[in-house]
Subunit: 568 residues, 2 copies
């Protein structure tokens, strides 16, 4: 290790340049881009200036709209692929969101799809011609996976001369190809994946496209930044404590954290073999239709036949119909409609004013639609978050130290695991964590059941509405609140992130310091650091949470709630 | 501990006597029972002599037949309950199969059920009036749970003065009550649950009713012995490596090892918190209808709403219909019917002649019915068994030593864990086991998928037929083969045990020692120890195995296969 210590800067810099050099010259931004201070927001007209009107039309169509056109041949897969490759290349130059590009391979795939459609007069699958981006944990043939580790450059997950390098594909990738998706890039992650900002020693920091002074979130921050710039209509991240949800919320996107129904088989990860709490694969997209399409399409491939950890559970349309029936009843009967729990704060960090306003606006529209709202007072979220953090540190940071040690690179400041280096827990200590988790899950589930005594229809609540984080996108190193996403992870619950509003400095004034007690040091910091001027315009989402395996119900409810919000 | 060392004999003996004393005097066997040598088989006419003709009629009706009568009021729940209590009491006196009896509480429940039926003119649930026995890991109000540990007497799972003692109920028990089942006894287990014979320092050894010189199997040996004597129409055991399947096979019963779809919430167990391989709850019964009824009925209670580890997966009748359609096609089309893999041996221990004959008879009938048979050549079962055994010994025996130490009792000879006492594994070693398990599961699944190239219809095989153990019921301390059940446990696969035949000394001659090479020391011992005279009349079952969560399909196939066997 020691001998490599001086090399990591060179290696990282070479890789960073290689990523940029893969961008075709015609797509390189000529001249310098104004600094983030001068030009914080690079979405909309800023990125559009680099694109043709037809490229803009394509890339600003949502996933459902795209497959309608590519499956019918109205647009060729090649023109769609080229447009997204171009836009992704620009996006990376603006916010550092890519680890790998493979545009030529993507265009080749698109050509094959167009040929297939011409010959067979039918699309190859549900995602025929849809460009799909992937977090840099998924293995794709011909492409490296670094996961942000300098020591992984030129290796397979840190192993030199492993024949799987650039030849192995993750199960999800195989299924996406079978569905006709076009894979074209892999997106940035923070070193270790264990933080809510995206930073590593290769590509540095992935900035928030709507405000390049702020974080894009993490660990699926590259995915979210790319999709927010419409350089991809949707893609896949992973989430063990908020990693698809926090970036989605910071960037005004939709995301789904399902209960382990998508295949993780053959995906690189951290502290592999830790199985108290499992990371899950989840889609992010600029539209609810996008995450539902991606989720449903993968399920249609029967991932349980290729990933032993996925339960045999196809998309259940009957649950969608039952949910729609419940919604309809809220209009037609006097017995009340659906019931929602609302978690206004988690007793750890109060939401900032725009986040509270987002919750309020959802509650208001649901009440108007005839649904019941119940204050959600669950078992301690502090306890739940602690159990999860214990699970993520059972190895005392050994995995992180090993992979950093491959190159001798330093640990980016934002990463909390291994700081300070810890001790491996004993088997009996891990068993105690597993039991604590099970007891917590049981207590939470029974609390959920108990709400049937609080609703007028005598049914437990249908979903919980709560913040994603207490704040919108942060300036580097100021992430203060993860517990809102940690707890659903510990519970393995379904969680959909829905974009609701953005920070409005003229409305969301900083709270009066004297008006209430702080819940914690993190709460105090959050309230002190909240600056409506800095955050102005930043997206704010909320989580809609269901119990385990309630994806069909929660996606249906989320689409309904969002439609009501838009309808106002 | 030391001070208690001399007390454990007294405590155990007092508990043993208390169990016997709970039997009403009128049900005590007067005079001595002939010794096992004089009277090995106590089923049939032997146990019938203690019962009235009506009690015999009731207790020799299967579970489906009973609920038809109790739900319609043709039989009262009280008369059915009393008959089974009586027969269970006799059974215990013959083979030591019970840890707890609560006949008065059972009769009280039955009275309530009769009253309910009289008042409401409908049964309370699917199991209205059905007596159901439980392995002594389930907690029932008013009743102790010792799990065979002397140190648990007078405690809750070894904890003194715990308010849950005799007040807490396992989730499965709550659901059984809601369905109208009548709980009346808890059955014997081996100390630690980690062996295939049922022996502990409280009730001593649970003998096989068909041959009281042989083992009833384990760890759900008390359940199987009781049901084989028709002292219960069906009940629930648990299985982490064969513990419902081996006793079922040794006793000519049906059993289901499902993929974790039944609630384990609030059930006592060993090395709690080990979560590489989870123990599952599974039903045993004298009929296929019995295990299906018990399984389906519990699912109808939505166990996932009360046990966070159970996936939301109700009974899927559509899969039953699809399976029946596939069966029907074997008659009506030229394309071939179903396809089965057959594992003739696992490369570790050859089945004894009667077990091979059982496999052959299943294969023969399936071929005659137009189905395909493929030789099953899966990834190494030796490796799979080793991974599972590593998972079960991660704590180095600490859990076993702790619970034995509560009373100072010695460890029964049959129990292999903690012998010799081992070391706790490290977190990284456990992670390596988890990864090895996942890789094994993946390799097995892909092998299963690969059989589509071997079948004439181009579909992978529908199920695997294999032994339960290499031998039928053993004499104490001669269990040689667990790998046939360990591997499905590691895979979390669905496994149904189906009774097929019994050992026939005039047919199942001992193999010629020179005719083939031994696969292992265990194989050599198995072949040397096989004695057709000793085993004559012992039941032999086979396993029908499906992938994860294929319970509906495998139960349907098992019923079909058994009907064909019977029809010959």
């Amino acid at each position: 290790m020691g001998s490599q210590g001086s090399d990591w800067v060179t290696l990282a810099s070479a890789k960073r340049n290689a990523i940029l050099e893969q961008v075709p010259n015609k797509w390189k931004i000529s001249g310098s881009v104004p600094s983030p201070k001068e030009l914080p927001d690079v979405t909309g007209k800023v990125i559009q200036q680099y694109l043709s009107p037809h490229e803009i039309e394509i890339t600003e169509t949502n996933a459902i709209g795209i497959v309608e056109k590519t499956r019918s041949g109205q647009w060729t897969s090649v023109e769609v692929t080229k447009a997204f490759c171009h836009r992704a290349a620009i996006a990376h130059q603006l916010v550092n969101c890519l680890h790998e590009t493979f545009f030529d391979a993507a265009i080749e795939t698109a050509q094959e799809l167009d040929a297939y459609l011409a010959t067979h007069k039918k699309p190859i699958g549900a995602l025929h011609g849809l460009p799909v981006s992937l977090k840099d944990q998924f293995h794709v043939k011909g492409v490296e996976t670094t996961m942000g580790y300098v020591g992984w450059i030129g290796t397979f997950e840190g192993i030199k001369d492993d024949p799987r390098r650039k030849t192995f594909e993750s199960e999800l990738v195989r299924e996406l190809r079978a569905l006709g998706a076009v894979l074209f890039c892999k997106t940035s992650v923070p070193t270790t994946l264990m933080t809510t900002e995206t930073v590593n020693n290769i590509i540095d920091y992935t900035w928030n496209p709507q405000n390049r002074l702020l974080s894009s979130g993490g660990s699926s921050g590259g995915e979210a930044a790319l999709i927010a710039l419409k350089g991809s209509p949707g893609g896949f991240g992973t989430d063990i404590g908020g990693s698809v949800r926090i970036p989605a919320s910071y960037n005004g996107l939709w995301a789904l954290r399902p209960s382990g129904r998508l295949p993780y088989e053959g995906v690189a990860t951290s502290i592999d073999g830790q199985n108290t709490v499992l990371s899950v694969v989840g889609p992010l997209s600029s539209s609810i239709g996008g995450i539902t399409l991606l989720f449903k399409s993968i399920l249609s491939q029967h991932p349980w036949h290729h990933d032993p950890s996925v339960p045999e559970m196809p998309w259940r349309e009957s649950i969608v119909e039952e949910t729609l029936r419940l919604i309809a009843e809220s209009k037609s009967t006097a017995r009340g409609g659906l019931a929602f729990g609302v978690l206004r704060h988690d007793n750890i960090v109060h939401p900032t004013p725009p986040v509270s306003r987002a919750l309020d606006s959802v509650i208001e529209v649901l009440r108007k639609e005839g649904h019941e709202i119940i204050e959600w007072k669950p078992p301690s979220h502090q306890l739940g978050a602690e159990i999860l953090m214990e699970a993520l540190t059972v190895d005392g940071g050994a995995d992180v130290r090993f992979h950093l040690g491959l190159s001798g690179e330093p640990q980016p400041e934002q990463i909390a695991v291994n700081r300070p280096p810890g001790k491996q827990k004993t088997v009996l200590e891990v068993a105690a964590i597993n039991i604590a988790k099970r007891n917590y899950q049981k207590a939470y589930l029974e609390y959920w059941n108990s709400t049937k005594q609080l609703t007028s229809r005598g049914r437990p609540i249908d979903a919980v509405i709560c913040p994603v984080t207490a704040h919108s996108a942060v300036v580097p190193n100021k992430s203060r609140s993860m517990e809102y996403t940690l707890v659903p992870s510990l519970l393995d619950y379904t969680a959909v992130v829905m974009p609701v509003t953005e920070v409005k400095s003229q409305v969301d004034f900083a709270p009066d310091e004297l008006s209430r007690a702080y819940l914690s040091e993190a709460d105090k910091l959050t309230q002190h650091e909240y600056d409506p001027e800095v955050s102005n315009g930043s997206p704010v989402g909320v989580q809609l949470i269901g119990r385990r395996f309630e994806e069909e119900k929660i996606l249906t409810l989320a689409e309904y709630v969002h439609a009501q919000l838009k309808g106002r």
